[in-house]
């Protein structure tokens, strides 16, 4: 295959955007490997400990856009101690040293320090885009460094990070010469921002398409900002509180009428419901609406709002919309593809306001639905079977019953048949989360039918090792498996150890796996890191192989045990 000069091959490869395609291409022959290697600009690393920064740079010397993921998914729910790991600094340092022309960095669940952000801002002249999702470890001082030094910054997107707010003037650190911003999202910041600096920044960035404000930006500032940026396509309001009988509110109404391009909205972190009608004209054009951080909007007002949103494709909402409200969604939002319903009262004992009825209504009304996250009070097998029949196109199906081991309330049976129907009907299912009373049977179904399944989340489910074995044997494309509080032990863990090299990672906490079992696995599989996370009982660490392991996280890696593990993490 040397008929084409390298430039032609490179040009052809440019059309390949998916990582998997490019990975496949590099395996064809040495010459393709070489061309692909030198032309690869976008690299995705799903587990930052699977490879080292130095090896990545050696493999892809022309990387310009890097995505890194750190902590396991269950870290989102406080199951992983804060200092477990996932530090981005070594990556930034290595790339700076090797003069990598980094332009984009996307991090998820990583620990980011101010030093790292400062080094980033100083080292990469063409840096354009920083996206931080569920990260922590930095303050607004780090953001100030990025704002001040990245002269061509287009995107600063902070999604649900824990940021210590130094109440500094980070926004004012964008120099007057910065006019290139396209996307700015600081909704997760808790502190005050300099409103004048914000308005001046918006005014001088004509390409600004996405702006998500935090709670400290009041409604009158929102109105002024919208006047400066009528071209916005994605808006996250800050505080949406005001007296509707005012000049300001009337100005807001007419300002919103001028914003014909807004397709996506979020925010409403604080709300005066009487001010919601101002956004009704925008609602008819919305394709995406995220009200999951807006507990101030009650069910009735949500329903009134939804009536205007005929073009919605993505809806994130709290369960106070109720089953009735979901019925309204079903009859209004015919284009709906993704729905997430979050619990508005996470501390209540099973007080979710939605049940299987809402979900069934959605399945009848929204044939294009393929992605679901649904927190509810209860679910029946009959409902799941109906949903499976109505919506065979699910790619992501995550159901969380607040009472984690609740049976079908009508038949008192486990929910095996219901979830079984889902996996059997949805042939493209890639992600599944289970809850409710579940026996080994549901895992038999998953192993049999979920051929495309890549990620599975299990909590309080199953009866024996057989359950886990059905999944490991059956799901050939499984990449991530996370299990908590389920009776799976050493036999399930050790029956097919080779499987773990085909997967990114396995998490097991509060299961039946023992230290001895983990040691056997680590012994057999040198290219798997088996980490035992043990926050308590430091003294008894490692003395008794029969001891059950509280938290185990294993992942394939090319670089052996990591050197930055804290004292409570033991790599076997």
């Amino acid at each position: 295959m040397n008929y084409f000069p390298d430039e032609v091959l490179e040009h052809v490869f440019d059309f390949l955007t998916s990582h998997r395609d490019r990975n496949a291409v590099s395996l064809v022959c040495k010459s393709w490997f070489k061309v692909e290697k030198w032309s690869r600009h976008r690299v995705f690393v799903g587990n930052c400990y699977a490879i080292s920064p130095e090896r990545l740079i050696a493999r892809f010397p022309r990387v310009r856009a890097l995505t890194l993921k750190g902590k396991p998914h269950f870290a989102d729910f406080n199951l992983v101690p804060h200092d477990w790991g996932g530090f981005v600094y070594p990556w930034i340092e290595a790339m700076a040293k090797s003069n990598i022309g980094l332009e984009e960095l996307r991090l998820k669940r990583m620990v980011v320090s101010n030093e790292g952000l400062e080094l980033l801002a100083r080292s990469f002249v063409n840096f354009k885009s920083l996206v931080l999702i569920s990260c922590e470890g930095f303050t607004t001082d780090g953001l100030a460094a990025v704002a001040a030094n990245c002269r061509f910054l287009r995107e600063l997107d902070l999604q649900e990070n824990e940021v210590e707010d130094r109440k500094g003037q980070w926004l004012s650190c964008f120099p007057d010469s910065c006019t290139s911003l396209v996307s700015l999202n600081f909704a997760c910041l808790k502190g005050e921002v300099n409103l004048t600096a914000l308005e001046r920044l918006v005014a001088r960035c004509p390409n600004l398409k996405s702006l998500r404000l935090n709670r400290a930006v009041p409604l009158d500032a929102l109105q002024r900002i919208l006047m400066l940026a009528p071209q916005l396509e994605d808006l996250g309001t800050g505080s949406y509180v005001h007296d509707p009988d005012t000049e300001t509110y009337n100005k807001l109404i007419s300002t919103f009428q001028k914003c014909r391009s807004i397709r996506s909205m979020s925010g409403f972190l604080e709300v005066s419901p009487l001010c919601l009608p101002a956004i009704y004209p925008i609602c008819s054009n919305l394709t995406s609406l995220n009200l999951s951080y807006a507990p101030g909007i009650h069910g009735d007002e949500l329903i009134k709002l939804i009536h205007h949103c005929r073009k919605l494709q993505r809806l994130w909402i709290l369960d106070c919309i109720g089953d009735k409200g979901l019925g309204v969604v079903a009859s209004t939002c015919k284009e709906l593809q993704e729905l997430r319903v979050f619990p508005s009262d996470p501390f209540g004992v099973g007080n979710a306001a939605v049940t299987e009825k809402g979900l069934v209504a959605i399945s009848f009304g929204c044939p294009k639905l393929h992605s679901l996250l649904y927190f509810c009070q209860q679910v029946t097998n009959a409902a799941l079977i109906t949903v499976a029949k109505n919506c065979p196109n699910f790619t992501r199906f995550r159901l969380c019953i607040l009472d984690a081991t609740k049976a079908d309330p009508v038949t008192m049976q486990p929910l095996d048949e219901g979830f079984g129907a889902i996996v059997q009907s949805c042939k493209d299912l890639r992600r599944l989360s289970l809850s409710g009373l579940l026996t080994d049977r549901v895992f038999l179904y998953i192993g049999m039918y979920a051929e495309q399944l890549e990620m599975l989340s299990i909590a309080f489910a199953g009866d024996s090792d057989k359950g886990m074995l059905y999944v490991l044997n059956g799901c050939k494309k499984l990449r991530k498996l996370e299990i908590r509080d389920s009776p799976f032990g050493n036999e399930a863990l050790l029956t097919d150890v080779g499987k773990y090299e085909t997967m990114r990672s396995l998490w097991m906490s509060s299961c039946e796996v023992t230290l001895g079992g983990c040691k056997v696995l680590a012994e057999k599989m040198p290219r798997i890191n088996v980490e035992i996370i043990n926050e308590y009982d430091q003294m008894e660490f490692g003395f008794d192989d029969r001891q059950k392991v509280d938290k185990m996280f294993l992942y394939r890696t090319l670089v052996g045990p990591r050197k930055d593990a804290p004292h409570f993490v033991w790599t076997l």
Binding site: F77, P295, G348, A404
Partner: protein, 175 residues
């Protein structure tokens, strides 16, 4: 094999009998005080400080929602949930009691107004100064967690909600 029904961070006791309960077993976190949780108050009985969100709540790992969302929802004080807190209310001399949802009220004044209406009388409580008339007036008292009968109105409303078990409207002369 026993089913794990206990706190998520405790090991499963393999010597326990296998229990496959079809009854719901809500994952027990380190404590089960739904009232306290709804109000976001601290847990220990000796600590009466009002504290909007304790570190332990933020350690909560069920239901599986992100910490930031959990904090945002707790902060709003559950405006759109249906939590209720019904307590019994007895008027002295009347054997049949009533029930009252304290969560539906936003403070002592609302409580007094509601009770005045429910029992057609004038109710005296801590905020009312002055002369205690006989016959026409009653005093509002409550039984707290320690079993003592106290006059209503001395402590902040939120704190009252965590300690009240039931209410009694007693005649002034008996008081």
């Amino acid at each position: 094999m026993g089913r794990a029904t206990n706190s998520s961070s405790s090991s499963i006791d393999s010597s326990s009998h296998p229990t496959v309960s079809s009854a719901s077993s809500f994952p027990r976190l380190k404590r089960d005080l739904s009232t306290d949780l709804s109000l976001g108050l601290s847990i220990s009985t000796s600590d009466h400080h009002y504290c909007p969100s304790t570190p332990r709540e933020q350690q909560s790992d069920w239901p599986p929602i992100k910490t930031l969302l959990r904090k945002a929802l707790a902060g709003e004080g559950n405006k759109c949930n249906d939590a209720t807190f019904f307590v019994k209310v007895y008027m002295e001399g009347i054997p049949i009691g009533r029930k009252l949802d304290l969560f539906a009220l936003d403070g002592y004044h609302a409580l007094i107004r509601t009770l005045d209406h429910m029992f057609s009388t004038t109710i005296l409580w801590a905020e009312v100064d002055g002369v205690l008339h006989s016959e026409k007036c009653h005093v509002l008292t409550y039984e707290d967690k320690e079993g003592d009968w106290m006059m209503v109105g001395d402590v902040p409303w939120e704190l009252f909600l965590t300690t009240v078990k039931r209410l009694k409207i007693t005649r002034v002369d008996k008081y």
